[in-house]
């Protein structure tokens, strides 16, 4: 890795050089800084949402981090497909927001960008993970404030399995349990 850094010609200075280093730090999934991680959040039992099943799908780890914005929030969860057929999340809907979209956060030249996506594939015997820094359900135009400890309902419609309603707990702003693709780091001294 180090040699890759130093192979960069000196002409690549300033922003270019900076971008390169940042990309090195963030380009690959599964590396230490590659996956977006908050803290491994201790999960009080009360906040664990039971897995919801619909058809061959199991939806778990549903949560929204308490939004600081009065207008927008993101919802994260994991969908596991136990069946033999591919499926896909097509839409999400809730009464608490004017508009709900499926989004992906992507990195482009050191900038992050939110991209609406038309569907989120849930491959046969695979899973779709909506997590920090990647896919999320985006709530736009919140109709009421969301505070840690609140709950609301979100209706998900899948291509094959059909529609199902899940309960979304509002968790701490730092919560990022679904993003644990990186190895755990030592906890802070507390």
């Amino acid at each position: 890795m180090k040699s890759s850094v130093y192979r960069v010609p000196r002409r690549l200075t300033g922003l270019s050089g900076m971008l390169l280093v940042l990309l090195l730090a963030s380009a690959c999934g599964g590396t230490r800084h590659g996956a977006v991680t908050g803290e491994p959040t201790p999960t009080p039992t009360a906040a664990v949402s039971a897995a919801t099943r619909v058809g061959a799908l199991v939806i778990r780890d549903v949560f929204t981090p308490a939004p600081a914005s009065p207008d927008t929030a993101a919802v994260y969860f994991t969908v596991q497909n136990t069946g033999d057929g591919d499926d896909a999340l097509l839409t999400a809907a809730t009464d608490i927001a004017d508009e709900v979209q499926l989004h992906r956060t992507v990195m482009e030249g050191g900038a992050m960008k939110m991209q609406p996506v038309p569907r989120i594939a849930v491959p046969a015997h695979g899973e779709a993970r909506l997590a920090r820094g990647g896919l999320h359900v985006m709530l736009l135009g919140l109709r009421r404030p969301l505070r840690e400890g609140d709950r609301f309902e979100l209706r998900l419609t899948f291509e094959r399995a059909g529609a199902v309603t899940v309960t979304v707990p509002v968790r701490a702003a730092t919560a990022a349990p679904g993003a644990a693709t990186a190895p755990p780091t030592p906890a802070m001294g507390h």
């Binding site: 914005s69 979209q101 050191g110 820094g133 702003a173």
Partner: protein
């Protein structure tokens, strides 16, 4: 470099091409992030900037609607600079929430020497009052800056981050693409290091006291 002539890469138009180079370089067989602990960053856990960047000179408006001369107001402080917007649902609030959690745990003799400055890239929606309310969710000490679109674009250029771009989401909604990392300026008024999205509380807790006490002790 994976069969792509280097001269062509370097004549390309900036970020996207560089992103490709970065991805190729980073996803090679012996992948280890440059931002790993110890060897490449003098022990710091952020990402080293190949060229230290001078603290930018810009004046914007703070949340009490007074002019804020960035260089002057942050001189002598460890200064964390982040461009974002309050409607950002994913990375911005996670950066700010993680930083706030760490600032709460650090002793006052450290935190009083740190200034966290959040510059909105969405001045249309982020008025001083909106910014203040949003930042107060994290830490009332965090400084929020706004201004005209032109002034904010110029501040990003002076800082050397990609200038934010508005993205239409339909139905009157929009998002803003912007730099994903926090730049940290030590008291030499240079940024030697940046913190990409994905940085953890434990990384901030490790680096901030050292950066405050020792200044830049890198390469």
């Amino acid at each position: 470099m994976h069969g792509i002539p280097r001269s062509r890469i370097l004549t390309g138009t900036g970020a996207l091409v560089l992103a490709l180079v970065g991805l190729l370089a980073a996803c090679g067989p012996s992948t280890r992030p440059a931002a790993g602990p110890a060897e490449d960053t003098g022990g710091y856990r952020g990402a080293l900037l190949t060229t230290p960047r001078p603290k930018p000179d810009f004046t914007l408006v703070d949340t009490s609607e007074r002019p804020f001369d960035f260089r002057k107001e942050t001189d002598g402080f460890l200064t964390l600079l982040f461009f974002g917007y309050t409607h950002c649902p994913d990375i911005c609030p996670l950066h700010m929430a993680n930083l706030a959690a760490v600032m709460r745990k650090l002793p006052p003799d450290i935190t009083e020497r740190i200034k966290v400055v959040f510059v909105t890239v969405d001045p249309e929606r982020d008025t001083p009052a909106v910014l203040r309310a949003w930042l107060d969710h994290f830490d009332p000490r965090f400084i929020g800056l706004t201004g005209t679109q032109e002034a904010i674009d110029a501040a990003q250029q002076a800082t050397g981050v990609p200038v934010a771009v508005k993205e239409d989401l339909g139905n009157g909604q929009y998002a803003v693409s912007h730099a994903a990392y926090v730049l940290v300026y030590t008291t030499d008024n240079l940024a030697h290091i940046a913190y990409p999205s994905g940085i953890r509380q434990s990384d901030w807790a490790h680096d901030l006291p050292r950066l405050v006490k020792k200044g830049w002790q890198g390469q």
